[in-house]
Symmetry: C2
Subunit: 160 residues, 2 copies
DNA sequence: AAACTAATCATAATCATTACGATCTAATTC
DNA sequence: GAATTAGATCGTAATGATTATGATTAGTTT
C-alpha cells in the first residue's frame, strides 16, 4: 500500500490525519520491510518535538494495528511495528538487530494434521529470528536482550 | 523428567535445593503439560509465605531456564514457564486460558527451502494459540489480554 | 558445630506501557 | 473563512512486569 492510499484509508475509517499520526506513518514508510520498535518511533518524534507524549505514539500504533493498517510483532522486550505486506498470508525471517524481514511464503498450518480434539484455533505465529547478512558484520547491543529473553528456544533446539 | 531427577540435576549443576526453589519446582510439577505465568507462581508462594520477594521467583525461573531445566514462553503480557517435554524438539498448541499444551510433532523448519542469502538463524518459534475444549465452555478473563496483544496475527489471517 | 558462599529478603528502581483530565486542532458546518 | 465540535494531543502520573542492590539467612561442606 502506498502512503497516500494509507492516509485515505485512515480517513475513510473516520480517523483524522493529524500531524503526529502522519509523522508516525511517514517514519514507518521510510523503512520498507522492517519492524521498528515503538521506542525508536518515540525517540525520533521526540527529537522533532520536545513536548511529545509517549501516550500519543502508543495510542496511534495500537489504533492503526487494531484497524489492520499496521502489523505488530513482539520480540526482545519490546513491541515492533511495520507497514503490512501486500502479499497474502505468510511468515518471516526477522533480523534481531535491524528488524528487517524476509518473506517466507510457506505457512506451516497447511501441513498440520494432528489437531487436538475440540481445540479452537484463534491464531498462530511462526517466525525465524536471526541476523541478516549486513548485521552479522556489525553486531548491535540491542541484540543481546532479544536473545536472552528467548533463550528458551535456543535451549529447546539444543536438546534435540 | 521426574521430580527427584530434577532435584538431582539441579544439585549436580552446583545449585542448592532451597525451600523456595523446591516449592517453585513442585508447583510446576503439579501442572503437567501446562505453561504457568510467573505471576501465578508468585501468588501461590505469597499465600504460603507473606514475606516472599518477587525477585526470588524471577531469579529462580531464569536460572532454571538458563540451565535448560525449564521452558519459557512469552504470550499475552507475561512470561510463562513449564517443565520441559521429554520428547525431541517439537511445537505446541497452547490454550490461552489455562496454558495447557498439546504437542505438535512436526516442525515447520524441516520443510523450508527459501532461506534468505547469508541469514544466520538463531532460533525460531511456532505456536498455535486458542482455547482447549474445556476452556471454551468457561471463558476466563485472562484470555482477553492475550488476544488483544496478539491481534496482529488475527488481522494477518483476515487479510489472507 | 563452624565456616563458607549461595540464596533470600527488603526495598527500591527500571522499563515498557497505560490512564486521565485539561487543552488543542483537524474536519465539518454555518 | 470563522465557528463549531468531536477526536487527538499534551502533561502528568500511575501501572504491571521485571530487575537491581545490599544486608541477612540458610544449604552445604569441613
Amino acid at each position: 500500500m502506498e502512503k497516500e492510499e494509507f492516509y485515505k484509508n485512515l480517513q475513510l475509517k473516520g480517523y483524522r490525519l493529524t500531524q503526529r499520526r502522519q509523522e508516525i506513518i511517514d517514519y514507518l514508510f521510510t523503512f520498507p520491510n522492517r519492524y521498528i520498535a515503538a521506542r525508536e518511533i518515540i525517540e525520533y518524534l521526540q527529537s522533532k518535538h520536545a513536548t511529545l507524549s509517549f501516550e500519543t505514539v502508543y495510542r496511534n500504533l495500537h489504533t492503526l494495528r487494531d484497524e489492520g493498517l499496521l502489523v505488530e510483532l513482539q520480540f526482545g522486550t519490546e513491541a515492533h511495528y511495520r507497514i503490512p505486506c501486500t502479499i497474502a498470508h505468510h511468515h518471516h525471517f526477522v533480523c534481531l538487530a535491524c528488524g528487517r524481514t524476509y518473506a517466507l511464503l510457506s505457512c506451516p498450518m497447511s501441513t498440520i494434521k494432528d489437531f487436538p480434539e475440540g481445540f479452537e484455533i484463534l491464531y498462530h505465529r511462526f517466525e525465524i529470528f536471526g541476523l541478516c547478512a549486513d548485521c552479522q558484520k556489525a553486531e548491535q547491543p540491542t541484540l543481546v536482550n532479544a536473545l536472552i529473553s528467548n533463550q528458551v528456544d535456543a535451549n529447546l533446539s539444543k536438546r534435540e
